[in-house]
């Protein structure tokens, strides 16, 4: 298909490299957002914290993730 639509091989290789880099790097951001989301959810329900802010949960989740 690449040959049919005339995409240069070099461009495909470059994009492949970027995809690999992106996929490997995105894991950190995904985990980061997951923690924030979880903290927000727990904060709203007031679970696990005395003031209901969810701050201690953020810390615990960050520790647990690592």
């Amino acid at each position: 298909m690449q040959g049919v639509i005339g995409v240069p091989t070099d461009l495909v290789t470059t994009i492949e490299g970027l995809v690999v880099v992106f996929v490997v790097s995105i894991d950190y951001l995904r985990a980061h957002f997951r923690i924030q989301e979880e903290a927000r959810r727990l904060g709203q329900s007031g679970e696990g914290t005395s003031d209901g802010s969810g701050r201690s949960i953020v810390f615990k989740l960050a520790r647990a993730r690592t």
Binding site: P8, D10, T14, I15, G17, V20, V21, S25, D27
Partner: protein
């Protein structure tokens, strides 16, 4: 075979061996610094390719090889920033992210070459710099002291890197971060900053290695490095993460390459076996690696992302 063991041929072979050694030595020394800080960078080859292309393009357009070298190093540094950001800040799996950088460098250098240059035109190789008095010594002068600036720089970097690693505060910080980042962190050493700086310097040297490789022949082509960057990574293991060991490995590789090429040109190796013979340096390096494997311990935190309190 007798024609090989003549004064002129042997001198020329060793002089070329020194030249072939240089790109491997530069890249491997940079990788040594990075690995000593705990960061495994498998993207060296891609960075070398980008460094080589930028050096080629700038030298072609401006006519200044030195400016090309500076730009090649700058591109290496920029790629180092990307590599360090992925490995240190984003804590990406270092092996796979390095392969990503390699593929990107391979594709991008070729894409830029086809887009901006097209027909390969030669640039001038670096002129030889004769060291006064030493270059006049028979045989030795021709082999070692009539080389270009990058060759002297590469071999000078060996004691410099050894001194930095073993006799300076910065080197101690790099070694500490590579062996036990938690302990280093508890002593107030910034693990991230130390690793960033080591990777940045290492990748700058990879860019310089690309430029050195390009200026050997003065012409760029697709996949110019032919995986020299991966050989450089292997040479770091071969040299047991020590600058002198890395130099020994690079010299071995350079000598075998030069001898094989010389034998091919003299017809000692038959044409039918020429392609097979080209793989000799890599095969010998792998065999040496196998023989040395496990005798030296690698930096304990090599390839591991550091998370405070983990």
């Amino acid at each position: 075979m007798n024609q090989f063991f003549t004064y002129a041929v042997l001198t020329a072979t060793i002089a070329s061996a020194i030249q072939y050694t240089t790109p491997f030595l530069l890249a491997a020394l940079g990788e040594t610094l990075g690995q000593r800080s705990g960061v495994l960078n498998l993207g060296v080859d891609g960075i070398m390719l980008l460094g080589a292309f930028s050096c080629y393009y700038v030298a072609l357009k401006t006519g200044s090889e030195l400016l090309g070298i500076v730009v090649g190093m700058a591109v290496g540094a920029a790629m180092g920033l990307v590599t360090a950001f992925m490995s240190v800040t984003l804590r990406a799996t270092q092996g796979i992210s390095g392969i990503g950088v390699y593929i990107f460098g391979l594709g991008m250098s070729d894409l830029l070459f086809v887009r901006f240059v097209g027909t390969p035109l030669p640039v001038n190789p670096l002129p030889n710099l004769n060291i006064p008095l030493l270059s006049k010594i028979p045989a030795v002068g021709r082999m070692f002291f009539q080389q270009n600036l990058l060759i002297y720089l590469a071999f000078l970097l060996v004691p410099v890197l050894a001194f930095v690693l073993y006799h300076t505060n910065y080197g101690t910080r790099v070694l500490a971060v590579g062996e036990n980042p938690a302990a280093a962190d508890s002593l107030g050493i910034s693990v991230a900053r130390t690793r960033y700086s080591a990777v940045l310097v290492g990748c700058t040297l990879a860019g310089l290695a690309g430029a050195a490789l390009l200026l050997l022949d003065g012409i760029f082509q697709e996949n110019l490095t032919q995986s020299a960057g991966f050989i450089a990574v292997a040479l770091v293991y071969f040299g047991a993460w020590r600058p002198a060991g890395v130099m020994t490995g690079s010299l071995l590789y350079g000598v075998v390459t030069a001898v094989v090429l010389q034998w091919k040109s003299l017809g000692i190796i038959p044409t039918s076996a020429a392609d097979l013979a080209t793989t000799a340096p890599a095969v010998i390096t792998v065999l040496a690696l196998v023989a040395l494997a496990g005798r030296f311990a690698q930096p304990a935190a090599l390839g591991k992302a550091y998370v405070r309190g983990a």
